[in-house]
């Protein structure tokens, strides 16, 4: 199982080229998110009425192009997982629109939505909790096929075996239960389940965060191989920038329920414009002890999403914060082609 790891390092430039080709061919937008909000009410008081709300996702707008991998990064609790779930309507949005292939998902009736789910799937972070302990692996992978009635009897068996081979599992183990598998194998089961219906779009919600590094690279390579073979579109949610850099075409940085910056991967890693992005990047370890870098160490804690700060949400921790940041909320604007940032004083601009 060491071959894929080697490919990670050696195949980087080739992958880059291929992505460029993809980008030229397919500029069509698959997922459009407009002003999406998800507030969780905080209940309290005698009649448990809503006394406030946690703004997990607050007015997020972006789009994902067909065939690309959109990386979404941010620290724990910034709402990136919630965003992924709201896009798939696993949680109902408070406001806003999600368009998938031109269809407004937020207005679909439950039955229509269930049908729509054939085209969009999710891979979960926790390979232990996301598999029903009373189902065999075969039944878990077959579940989407059975639910949508796309295959019957022998066909299901064959498709399950095919999927298991695709993700590198032994089909003869399909009658075993999840507790008999390791974490990496279970994550493959989750991937096989997500692929069962040939979806167009997959949300990978920290799909590799729970795995150790060697298995991480295996799974990531598996995901990008599958993308090439099946033409998938990913929303790749992660908190590790290394992972995102390797797999993503474009990256969105999230802070406290809002998108701070969106740009192509190289642009983000080369010319980060938002101070928060810069801080994240400077926290990335560089495998070279002699290369000294200036580290931006953020002060303080993340403010509570129940009471986000006035003005720019990052101003409480931003080393470059000025009076304007405390008063006026910055809007997303395009500072160069395809590079969007929500900051009054983007770095490298005025300085």
């Amino acid at each position: 199982m060491s071959t894929p790891q080697v490919r990670v390092i050696a195949g980087d430039s080739a992958q880059e080229d291929r992505r460029d080709e993809n980008r030229l061919q397919e500029q069509k937008t698959l997922v459009e998110v407009e002003h999406l909000k998800k507030y969780f009410p905080i209940r309290g008081g005698f009649f448990s009425h809503a006394v406030g709300s946690v703004r997990a996702v607050d007015d997020v707008t972006f789009d994902i192009r067909q065939g690309e991998t959109f990386g979404l990064v941010g620290e724990s609790g910034c709402g990136k997982s919630t965003l992924g779930r709201v896009i798939l309507r696993l949680q109902e949005p408070t406001a806003g629109i999600v368009r998938f292939d031109g269809v407004d998902l937020t207005r679909l009736r439950p039955r229509q939505m269930r049908k729509m789910r054939q085209q969009m799937q999710i891979i979960f972070q926790d390979p232990f909790g996301s598999l029903n302990p009373r189902f065999t692996i075969g039944d878990i992978i077959a579940e989407p096929l059975v639910v949508h009635g796309v295959a019957k009897g022998r066909e299901i068996e064959e498709r399950v075996a095919e999927l298991m081979r695709l993700v590198g599992l032994d089909p003869s183990r399909r009658n075993h239960y999840p507790h008999e598998f390791s974490g990496g194998q279970r994550q493959r089961v989750g991937i096989a389940r997500a692929l069962a219906l040939n979806p167009k779009f997959i949300v990978a919600d920290e799909a590799v965060s729970a795995l150790d590094v060697s298995v991480q690279s295996q799974v990531i390579n598996l995901l990008s191989d599958l993308q090439d073979e099946l033409g998938l579109t990913y929303l790749f949610i992660a908190h590790g920038l290394n992972v995102v850099r390797h797999i993503s075409d474009r990256v969105g940085v999230m802070y406290l329920g809002k998108l701070a910056e969106i740009a192509e991967t190289d642009e983000i890693f080369g010319h980060a414009a938002h101070p928060y992005t810069a801080a994240l990047l400077s926290a990335m370890p560089v495998p070279n002890p002699h290369r000294k870098r200036e580290r931006i160490v953020l002060q303080g804690e993340v403010p509570s999403p129940a009471h986000p700060p006035q003005g720019c949400r990052f101003h409480t921790r931003c080393p470059f914060a000025q009076q304007r940041c405390r008063e006026e909320e910055p809007q997303m604007r395009e500072i160069s082609a395809g590079h969007w940032v929500a900051c009054h004083f983007p770095m490298g601009d005025v300085a």
Partner: protein, 317 residues
């Protein structure tokens, strides 16, 4: 990857045979459980005796022989006769038909209703949960015996009506239990995964969650069998259950109360039967619960391990 290295054989395109179905695996585990198998054997014997009662019973259960009352066990009357000279063995056989039918049907009925109500309340939550739970509270605060008496007195003492009433007054415990389990289980991530796969709420409730809630439900159901047999006896005592000359174990017990000091064996025979049936059902229930749990380790007896050790270890201690 295997094909690339060229050392290992290429995986064959045909599908390997399906190793073992869930039910067969469960049966295999069930069979290895001596208590459960013992319970099953006892229960099956009782069931066969109940079904074949008209053919194996030596007497008519209602035929009175006042010249031979309170007879001790003999070859003519295997377990003796009661105060009216009726053959006790015959009456036990006929009584078992009523008692076992009541026990099993009531348990099945209340588990069905309880599971549906509890699943809906626990899974959907919110106002639906509140309404259903308040209905259960009301049902529980009404004395069950009172409702039984009322309905049976109005509509007449019919056997199936009695089973229906017993079911309708005993499903609340299961419903609460299932609701509690579901409240916990619905937060599991595999529920979200099923939702993402497009599974309907009904499918998630009864296919994904109920399987994970089986253990307490089965235990509860087995306890309910005994409870139903005893409730039936109480109703029979009040003249509302099984009508004489028909009989049941509960009725025989209540009959025996008067003669407790003169002929205590009248109470012992039906009592032992109830005890055996309830115990066997409990063992069966435990066996099913363990057999359905895929994480259950196969239990290897110490004797077997010792045998292996003798056979395969060179250095004997």
């Amino acid at each position: 990857m295997i094909a690339q290295t060229g050392q290992m054989p290429v995986p064959e395109p045909t599908l390997p045979e399906r190793p073992e179905s869930l039910m067969r695996a469960a049966w295999r585990r069930f069979r290895r459980n001596p208590l459960a198998m013992g319970g099953l054997v006892v229960f099956v014997i009782f069931a066969i005796l109940a079904i074949l009662a008209p053919w194996i019973a030596p007497y008519n259960p209602a035929s009175i022989d006042l010249f031979n009352s309170d007879a001790p066990p003999s070859w003519q009357h295997l377990l003796g006769t009661d105060d009216s000279g009726r053959d006790i063995f015959t009456r036990i056989l006929y009584g078992s038909r009523v008692s076992m039918l009541v026990g099993v049907l009531v348990a099945i009925g209340s588990v069905l209703i309880g599971c549906i109500v509890g699943a809906v309340a626990g899974y959907f939550g919110g106002w639906l949960d509140t309404v259903l739970m308040r209905i259960i509270d009301v049902m529980l605060s009404l004395p069950a015996l009172f409702i039984n008496i009322l309905v049976l007195a109005i509509f007449g003492a019919s056997f199936y009506l009695m089973i229906l009433i017993l079911v309708l007054t005993s499903w609340m415990g299961v419903a609460r239990l299932v609701r509690g389990e579901f409240l916990q289980l619905r937060e599991m991530q595999y529920v979200e995964a099923a939702k993402a796969a497009g599974a309907s709420s009904v499918r998630i409730m009864f296919n994904h969650l109920l399987r994970n809630a089986t253990a307490p439900i089965i235990v509860n159901a087995t306890l309910m069998v005994g409870g139903a047999i005893l409730t039936e006896s109480a109703l029979s005592f009040l003249g509302l259950g099984v009508q004489p000359p028909q009989t049941s174990w509960g009725q025989m017990l209540n009959n025996a109360q008067e003669y407790m000091l003169t002929n205590p064996m009248l109470a012992v025979y039906p009592g032992v039967c109830i005890f055996l049936v309830v115990l066997s059902v409990n063992f069966i229930g435990d066996g099913i619960r363990d057999a359905l749990d895929p994480r259950q380790k196969a239990h290897i007896p110490k004797r077997r391990i010792a045998q292996w050790r003798d056979r395969f270890l060179k250095s004997s201690t």
